[in-house]
């Protein structure tokens, strides 16, 4: 019974994932694309929960839906009508080539996985109750992966400084010398 339930949730989440992913790409208005990305991230969080990655699912919703998408919406609102990206019209050579290239990437990945796959992916490892909990993630982050943890903070600092530098208005005297 529980197995059937998990399968049902999985199918719903997987179709929502792919549907909202396509919606992100296909919507003409970036505002709706950003909203579709929220649906995409939410269904991805459901899949993470099925995979017993509770902390990653929570962080996903907090970091992406809570911060990244809100930032996107701010920039879209700031740009106003200039952010609109209507479709140019009928299929161009470029869009056809893009579809072929994306299909080629998909086929390549599937072929590589199929070639590399052996019996080891048929059975999954047994896990104990602590797997994926915040305590376990914290233990890993501050133990074996301390360097990654520290580098992460530097990456975030550099990105924050870069965002401020890129986003701040140019100084008046510099603008005067340019024109």
């Amino acid at each position: 019974m529980e197995e059937v339930l998990v399968w049902a949730v999985w199918v719903v989440a997987a179709s929502a994932l792919l549907g909202s992913g396509l919606a992100v790409v296909l919507f003409a208005n970036p505002f709706y694309s950003a909203l579709a990305l929220i649906g995409n991230l939410a269904s991805l969080a459901v899949l993470y929960l099925i995979l017993e990655a509770e902390f990653v699912a929570a962080a996903q919703v907090l970091v992406y839906a809570g911060a990244v998408v809100v930032m996107f919406l701010f920039v879209i609102a700031y740009l106003g009508g200039r952010a609109d990206a209507p479709w140019a019209g009928g299929p161009t050579l470029q869009s056809l080539a893009a579809i072929v290239a994306a299909g080629a990437i998909a086929v390549e990945i599937v072929v590589v996985i199929a070639l590399r796959a052996d019996d080891s992916i048929a059975t999954s490892a047994e896990i104990e109750g602590a797997f994926g909990t915040p305590a376990e993630i914290g233990r890993l982050f501050l133990g074996n992966h301390l360097l990654a943890f520290e580098v992460t903070s530097i990456v975030l600092l550099v990105a924050a400084v870069g965002g401020v530098v890129l986003g701040s208005a140019p100084k008046p005297e510099r603008r005067g010398s340019e024109r």
């Binding site: 970036p30 694309s33 902390f55 992406y64 920039v75 470029q94 340019e178």
Partner: protein, 102 residues
């Protein structure tokens, strides 16, 4: 694991990654290109989380969290670039943005 095996997750992550790649290639608005990039990163993340569960090893989840941090940083810098470009009164079209000089 309960529910589908890892093969289903891998197929799902490939499809998500391909959808993102399609968006990056086909759209010309830099905003939607950035959104599609997030889709690609999430496709890779799904594979990482699925393998972490498959192998019973938490390292994959740490890697996925690091990818999320990089994705957030990339969004900050990308959106900052878009705002900076929009100040120059240039069209927001990745096909027309061919010069680095302001």
């Amino acid at each position: 694991m309960s529910g589908p095996g890892i093969a289903a997750y891998l197929i799902l992550s490939v499809l998500l990654f391909t959808t993102g790649a399609l968006g990056v290639l086909i759209r010309r608005s830099p905003l939607i290109v950035l959104l599609a990039l997030e889709l690609m990163l999430n496709g890779a993340n799904l594979a990482l989380i699925a393998f972490a569960r498959q192998l019973g090893d938490g390292d994959g989840q740490i890697f996925a969290l690091a990818v999320m941090v990089v994705a957030a940083s990339e969004a900050v810098v990308g959106l900052g670039l878009i705002v900076a470009v929009s100040r120059k009164r240039v069209d927001l079209d990745v096909d027309k943005l061919t010069s680095l000089r302001g």
